[in-house]
């Protein structure tokens, strides 16, 4: 019989403790470790979800807890899905989603492509570019409110310097036409570095020998870009688009700090509208149905996201 350290520890273990441990199978020990997490998941995620689904079929109002609650079937869903005001907030969200993703992918990929070319100070530039991403959205919202000030804001002065327009002649946050673009600019400023990092990972995963083979075949730089770089970075780009899409669909803090949904309700995204229905108008049942609609949409997008992630992993 070998006398390994494990054997020595086993021999030194008091018989009462050893018998207790021996009584549990590996499977039981595994369950013992997993159970607290499962319990937490059920209490924090699954139970509220089931409760919200239940509330979405009622006319419950959280500010009138003693009022009798009636089950009204699918009427909340019917109201939301035929309400033109909510349709408008969906369109505001779509405008925000489309343009932020468009600019973030365009600028993020260009930056990644430039950073990927080895040059002096490469690491320093990468660090500087990723700084906005590390800030809190609430801080960024406040910070950009000052930048957008028509009298003292640097943004207006920058535009004035470039175009010659009077800096106090336009208001980024107060104007109905410019306000949707003001939130697009800030989100792009904050999250382009994230897209850049994902694209950089994609670019760095392309082996050099593929480019060397293309050079031997006398493929031009342009041809190499379209037939090697783009197809090989595409799964990473897809991942970035889906990730930003899901995140921006739920966007709340940054826009609340920046515009508060205004002027009027022109920048009122779905999450802000949902919060108003739930905690300002106190239509809890209605807001629950609204939340379920958004949840199913995000869950659907997340399913595609996981599929894309697995494809990237397979590479």
């Amino acid at each position: 019989m070998s006398d390994t350290p494990i054997d020595r520890v086993a021999k030194a273990t008091p018989p009462s403790v050893a018998s207790k441990i021996r009584g549990l199978s590996d499977r039981a020990i595994a369950w013992l470790f997993v159970l607290p997490t499962i319990f937490l998941l059920l209490a924090v995620n699954i139970f509220p979800l089931i409760w919200t689904i239940n509330l979405s079929f009622t006319n419950f109002r959280a500010n009138r807890p003693n009022r009798e609650v009636d089950y009204i079937g699918l009427r909340n869903y019917e109201r939301i899905l035929t309400d033109e005001d909510i349709w408008l907030t969906m369109q505001a969200t779509a405008h925000f989603l489309f343009w932020t993703i468009f600019f973030q992918v365009l600028i993020g990929f260009t930056l990644a492509w430039l950073i990927n070319r080895k040059f002096k100070g490469n690491d320093l530039w990468t660090t500087l570019i990723v700084l906005p991403m590390m800030l809190s959205p609430a801080v960024v919202g406040n910070f950009w409110t000052f930048l957008y000030q028509p009298q003292i804001g640097l943004f207006n002065y920058g535009i004035s310097f470039l175009t010659g327009i009077d800096p106090s002649s336009f208001q980024m946050i107060g104007d109905v036409t410019l306000a949707p673009w003001s939130i697009v600019i800030v989100d792009t400023w904050m999250w382009t570095p994230f897209v850049m990092l994902i694209c950089l990972a994609g670019l760095r995963s392309i082996p050099d020998y593929i480019y060397e083979a293309a050079e031997i075949d006398r493929a031009s730089q342009w041809r190499q870009f379209w037939t090697i770089t783009i197809p090989m970075v595409l799964p990473f780009l897809m991942l970035a688009v889906l990730f930003r899409g899901i995140e921006n669909f739920k966007m709340f803090d940054l826009v609340v700090q920046l515009t508060g949904g205004g002027p009027g309700s022109i920048t009122e995204l779905t999450s802000i509208n949902l919060k108003r229905e739930a905690f300002e108008k106190w239509r809890t049942g209605y807001a629950s149905a609204y939340a379920i609609i958004l949840f199913v949409t995000v869950f659907g997008l997340a399913s595609i996201y996981v599929k894309a992630l697995n494809k990237v992993k397979e590479r």
Binding site: L81, Q91, A94, V296, F299, G300, S303, K307
Partner: protein, 62 residues
């Protein structure tokens, strides 16, 4: 294309997941388009069908 249809007929995971993903994407586009109200009205049922289908077909064999 024929491989895709063959996969659907044999209940293979890949093509069915693709179909579910397309349904989800169509649902999201219907939800956010600014053109017709009826597309917005039926968007939720399309997305829900796609999402439930995705959960079911992800258990199909490869």
């Amino acid at each position: 294309m024929s491989q895709f249809v063959h996969g659907l007929m044999r209940f293979r995971r890949g093509p069915w997941e693709m179909l579910a993903s397309v349904l989800i994407a169509i649902g999201v586009v219907m939800l956010m388009q600014p053109v017709v109200l009826w597309a917005y009205t039926y968007s939720f049922i399309v997305t829900l069908t796609g999402t439930v289908m995705f959960i079911v077909v992800s258990h199909f064999p490869d």
